[in-house]
């Protein structure tokens, strides 16, 4: 730390004009980034390589790790549950995006404008942001109980079914709970995006006599392009992280109907004690995550993050 404070000062003192120029151009030492980089390398990049390595081994989680060639990959690829987990992941990703994106866009536009009861709305709208997925899952488990939950409470028979025990329905219940928890976060992102749209655009449109709906489609939507990309990327890549919620809500069941890929990986590794196969699933997860993120950034064209990602 003391060296960091003294070196630039000495450089300033030595070469009067040329030296000053050079120090200004050089900027701070790269060493400042090293602690963050080291942490990230040790606990993210290294494990990323580790999961690739472990996918070629067999390990029960406690004993010796043995190199085992492609046997874990063969197990995983031959297992129909893997294909099913991929399908469930894709379904949850698709449906939760279809449900969340329009709702959070509209709510974001709505909450960005001023309206009555704004303070009260703002307190309540964003409460789900604070809850842990475990809490949300437990709450909905109780609420959806066919005997003591919402259905009998409202006296609506069609609401009083075994939502979480019916393999045809459960996926949509999961999607609904995901939306309940994550729409507020994306609403917030859109709200911020809308507030950055220059007011002059709307003023000009109003002078031209454009109505609210025309303004929405011709100004708001095009101006929100990058916000949509940010939000969509977080939604799609984030759907690989609904693990906690689904783990507590359905534990992947009934049967395999909500066992998405991260959950399948966890159960394979830590319940069935096959860390090799679980690692192969982890590799698949990483490849899908990276591919989706890169695809979405490309879709957005040249924004700041895209250009930087392309350089990577």
């Amino acid at each position: 730390m003391s060296t960091a404070t003294t070196t630039p000062r000495r450089e300033l003192g030595t070469g009067r004009t040329a030296g000053t120029r050079r120090t200004l151009e050089k900027g701070p030492s790269g060493w400042l980034a090293v602690p963050a980089l080291a942490f990230f390398m040790l606990f993210a990049i290294l494990p990323l390589l580790g999961v690739l390595f472990l996918s070629f081994t067999s390990w029960d989680g406690l004993g010796e790790i043995r190199l085992d060639g492609l046997s874990s990959w063969n197990t995983v690829l031959a297992d129909p549950v893997t294909g099913n987990a991929l399908l469930v992941t894709a379904k949850i990703m698709f449906f939760s995006f279809i449900v969340q994106a329009p709702i959070s866009l509209l709510l974001g536009v709505f909450t960005a404008a001023s309206q009555k009861y704004r303070a009260a709305l703002a307190v309540l709208y964003f409460v789900p942001l604070l809850l842990s997925s475990a809490a949300v899952a437990i709450a909905f488990k109780a609420l959806l109980d066919p005997n003591f939950g919402l259905g009998p409470g409202l006296g609506l028979p069609f609401l009083a079914q075994d939502w979480l025990g019916n393999s045809d329905l459960v996926l949509f219940v999961v999607v609904f709970v995901i939306a309940w928890q994550f729409v507020p976060f994306h609403t917030l992102i859109y709200q911020g995006g809308v507030r950055q749209i220059p007011a002059s655009l709307y003023e000009a449109a109003q002078i031209d006599g454009a109505g609210r709906i025309q303004q929405f489609f011709n100004i708001t939507l095009p101006q929100l392009k990058y916000t949509m990309i940010t939000s969509s990327t977080l939604m799609v890549v984030g759907s690989l992280a609904y693990f906690d919620l689904i783990f507590v809500l359905t534990a992947g069941g009934p049967g395999y109907s909500t066992r998405l890929l991260p959950l399948h990986m966890y159960l394979t590794g830590f319940k069935a004690n096959d860390m090799g196969a679980a690692s192969a699933l982890g590799v698949i997860l990483v490849v899908i995550g990276l591919a989706l993120a890169l695809f979405l950034q490309r879709l957005g064209g040249k924004n700041r993050n895209a250009s930087q990602l392309e350089g990577a």
Binding site: M1, A4, T20, L24, K26, G27, P28, S29, G30, A33, P35, A36, L37, F39, F40, L42, P47, L48, V51, L54, L107, F110, A112, A113, S114, Q115, L124, Y125, F126, L130, L131, S132, S133, A134, A135, I138, A139, A142, L143, L150, G153, L154, W180, L188, R195, A199, S200, T230, L240, F247, V248, M265, F270, M275, S279, G282, L290, L309, G311, A312
Partner: protein, 299 residues
């Protein structure tokens, strides 16, 4: 405090906040948005009903739970469920969560801030490469790395300690922190740094005496965002800890649910208790939290 929360980009964007503040009121004065209002109220109902159900059920006793209408408040509200939860080491789990959250967020902020400063102010291959590593890190699904992390933590004899939760949490908080902090820091005018440099200031001093005060709203945003994530984190505790001594709140909800599966009101009381601290903080610091999160992700 309130003025800075409204203007997260205060250093650079002086004219912008004025326009952003003016527009909503103008729109508001035009015809009311009935459709938007209707949708807004419907969504509000969707948000509220589960919360309402959890709170009223947590105040029922077992008999009341089985006999009364689930959507009606209890005839004789009771706090027994809360007493039961508090007697079940709630305080210990709360403390564990607090230690893990503070222990992760503060170091993560510290190292991420230094890295963001170097990335924004510095030049060279190494720093642009570092930045790319962090950007790529945003796209890595955290769950894929848990098996090697489990192996590392076991090998380091840290399994079932709070440190086992803190170390990976710091690492996973870094990419998003660096991204948001560096986005904000780019708006600090270069002239300010140059004049400080001419006064003979070192980078270390510029970082803490100029960059930090100028990006304070972003630092608070990043701190809150990471704190929420770590506080609510479930996966690392599930995999890296085992005993009640190292249990954190989200995991305690899950284990409590297993132990008291027949006593739903008690389980829901534990949900309320685990959420209450965050709710209090939210009501007090709502403006800061919402404007910070908004600005952090829409830049």
């Amino acid at each position: 405090m309130t003025s800075t929360t409204e203007l997260p980009t205060a250093p650079a964007a002086l004219p912008q906040p004025a326009t952003t503040r003016r527009r909503p009121s103008k729109l508001g004065r035009s015809r009311p948005n009935f459709l938007g209002g209707l949708g807004g109220w419907i969504w509000l109902a969707i948000i509220i009903v589960p919360v309402y159900y959890v709170v009223i059920t947590s105040l029922k006793n077992q008999a009341g739970f089985f006999t009364s209408n689930p959507m009606l408040p209890p005839a004789e509200p009771t706090l027994d469920n809360y007493k039961l939860v508090l007697e079940n080491d709630f305080a210990k789990y709360f403390t564990n969560s607090l230690i893990v959250t503070v222990g992760s967020v503060v170091p993560a902020l510290f190292v991420a801030f230094m890295a963001a400063y170097a990335i924004v102010r510095g030049k060279g291959r190494f720093l642009s490469w570092t930045n790319n590593v962090f950007l790529l890190g945003l796209a890595i699904p955290l769950h894929a790395t848990i098996i090697p992390i489990y192996w590392m933590i076991t090998k380091a004899h840290m399994y079932d300690t709070l440190l086992a939760l803190i170390l990976p949490s710091i690492a996973f908080a870094i990419p998003v922190s660096v991204l948001i902090l560096s986005n904000f820091m780019r708006d600090v005018p270069n002239e300010l740094f140059e004049s400080m440099r001419l006064d003979g200031c070192s980078d270390w001093a510029m970082m803490w005496r100029l960059a930090l005060p100028m990006t304070k709203p972003a630092v608070i945003t990043v701190g809150i965002y990471n704190a929420l994530h770590v506080w609510n984190g479930f996966l690392f505790p599930l995999i890296l800890t085992q005993s009640p001594d190292t249990r954190v709140l989200p995991l305690s909800l899950w284990t409590f649910q297993g132990e008291f599966s027949v006593n739903i009101p008690a389980v829901l009381a534990s949900v309320v208790l685990a959420t209450l601290p965050l709710l209090v903080i939210y009501v007090v610091a709502r403006r800061q939290l919402l404007s910070g999160l908004t600005a952090g992700f829409s830049k």
